[in-house]
Symmetry: C2
Subunit: 316 residues, 2 copies
């Protein structure tokens, strides 16, 4: 029997999860949940259910893949849905993960709620833990890009006089080399350049827009920020990349570990990770492994559709 | 209280484990087990115990780190010691891992026996599983080197007329590029060059030695093999490296994951991994998670001395 999946939220990640599920033989898309009445989805025959009616799906969904935003959607939807279903999400507001973890853990009494399971946090977090455990006397650094940051692109679009905009985060080559050499404590601002592609409204004051962007707290202040005015941007282009490094010294020898990711579509890659963790949530819940979990808590074998003997033969 | 570790076998990996344990605050070296009477070790005050007297240590060792060879030592020592103690090893004869797993699993009734926990199998295996789970429609390749292969160096030294020798395994750049482009099913021979540094005995027939090496089945036949005759080699130099790649297509987009390792000392890096898995074996056994385990079965948090809240804050 296939694992019955519900997708909650039909934005970039929700649509990507739908695509990934079509090529995942041990799972089936059983429902899409949304706040938008009359939403049309790509997969024929799959019911679209209003979020407020989620409870009606108890017993017909094994795992909900939560595809909403970390700022507003997940803090509200996560605990509500985790009380009824096992869930998985890619919550990515690092600073409030402990708080979100607790709210899920309190709700998930008879379910399994895996949070922060995207590529960062998620895959790169797993790498950071391995690096820290294997090379404890060492230093780690993570770089993002070259790729589009949705949050920063959104921030650009709120500046007065900006018609459209996309922001690329670009790692600094010299900072990457410094990290490979063992440099620790590089700031995010030292590690990354923020390239902004901005379509200005006709007659807008470009100097003022550029100044407003470069001084925007949290988003651009403290970063090397480059503002390029262009005629148009392509919002559908969502590549991203990530690089995490760990260097360490032990016994007088130097050791280096690097994990590098590159994707032409951030949402599709994220959906691939979410789908694997949905499989893990299903299995954990069946075994009574209830409560909130992170990628640190899940044995890797739970992510794979292959049995132990096959994993040992093909991948160990 | 510290985790009490026994080191079994005092060769390259055993000595490296001793070094790593000295910089591991939550563990202490409690004994070294050996077949060699009168063995002298570097750490003062630590008892050296003959392997045949292992049973006398029950109750005073939490985990045995097995540092013997995969060909002869581990198949015999592993099950015997796993019946008495939790164990961890870096068993690396891929073809017979399932058989070794079963022999450990049968022995480890009240203990936890983690096998094949080095860098490959081990760390790179974990990466291969993640790649396979996140990008199931894709291809994976693993490359070894540039680094010294102990097994191949040993094979060179058995050739008549060879006084000393070291073998470096070198990945082919063109094969790495092909794998990045999604090529699957590259053979080990296509992926690697075997560079041999050979000190010939005086008067030995170098052409015959070279021919014998290049046609040696399993070790060199089928590989691009380069034989360099030199005046001396440095056996103490044991760098190694590994690169595992996964490429995948989903939803019409291309995704790539790469894990790369470089170490100046293969034994020390391996010992760092073994030490972290020894911590996991200790915790699993305390919880009743008995039996044989691979890196696929161990939640990552068990590898770290840090508690969940710290891991979430610092590494997630």
């Amino acid at each position: 029997m296939k694992i019955r999946i519900g997708i909650v939220g039909y934005g970039n990640i929700g649509m990507a999860a739908e695509t990934v599920l079509r090529q995942t033989p041990d799972m089936e898309l059983a429902a899409v949940l949304t706040r938008r009445p009359g939403l049309d989805i790509k997969t024929p025959g799959v019911p679209v259910v209003l979020l407020e009616d989620a409870e009606s799906l108890v017993g017909s969904i094994d795992v909900m893949i939560l595809c909403g935003g970390s700022a507003k959607d997940l803090p509200e939807q996560g605990p509500k849905l985790a009380a009824l279903f096992s869930t998985v999400d890619s919550f990515d507001t690092h600073a409030v993960i402990p708080e979100y973890f607790l709210s899920l853990d309190r709700a998930a009494k008879k379910t399994t709620a895996i949070l922060a399971a995207g590529w960062d946090p998620g895959l790169l977090s797993a790498f950071r833990l391995l690096g820290d455990a294997f090379l404890p006397k060492g230093a780690g650094s993570t770089f993002w890009g070259r790729g589009v940051s949705q949050g920063h692109s959104f921030a650009l679009r709120r500046v007065a006089g900006v018609k459209d905009a996309v922001q690329y985060t670009v790692p600094s080559e010299s900072a990457v080399e410094a990290a490979r050499g063992g440099a620790a404590n590089l700031t995010a601002g030292e590690k990354h350049t923020r390239e902004c592609y901005v379509v200005a409204e006709e007659g807008a004051d470009r100097a003022r827009i550029e100044e407003e962007i470069k001084t925007m707290p949290h988003y651009f202040a403290g970063y090397r920020t480059v503002v390029n005015f262009v005629d148009s941007v392509n919002r559908a282009d969502m590549p991203h990349a990530g690089l995490s490094l760990r260097t360490g010294d032990s016994g007088g020898f130097r050791h280096t570990m690097e994990l590098s990711l590159k994707t032409e579509s951030n949402p599709v890659f994220t959906a691939g990770i979410l789908t694997a963790y949905a499989r893990a949530a299903f299995r954990l819940s069946r075994e009574g492994g209830y409560g909130a979990k992170t990628v640190f808590d899940v044995p890797l074998s739970y992510l794979s559709p292959k049995d132990s003997a096959t994993l040992m033969r093909e991948l160990l």
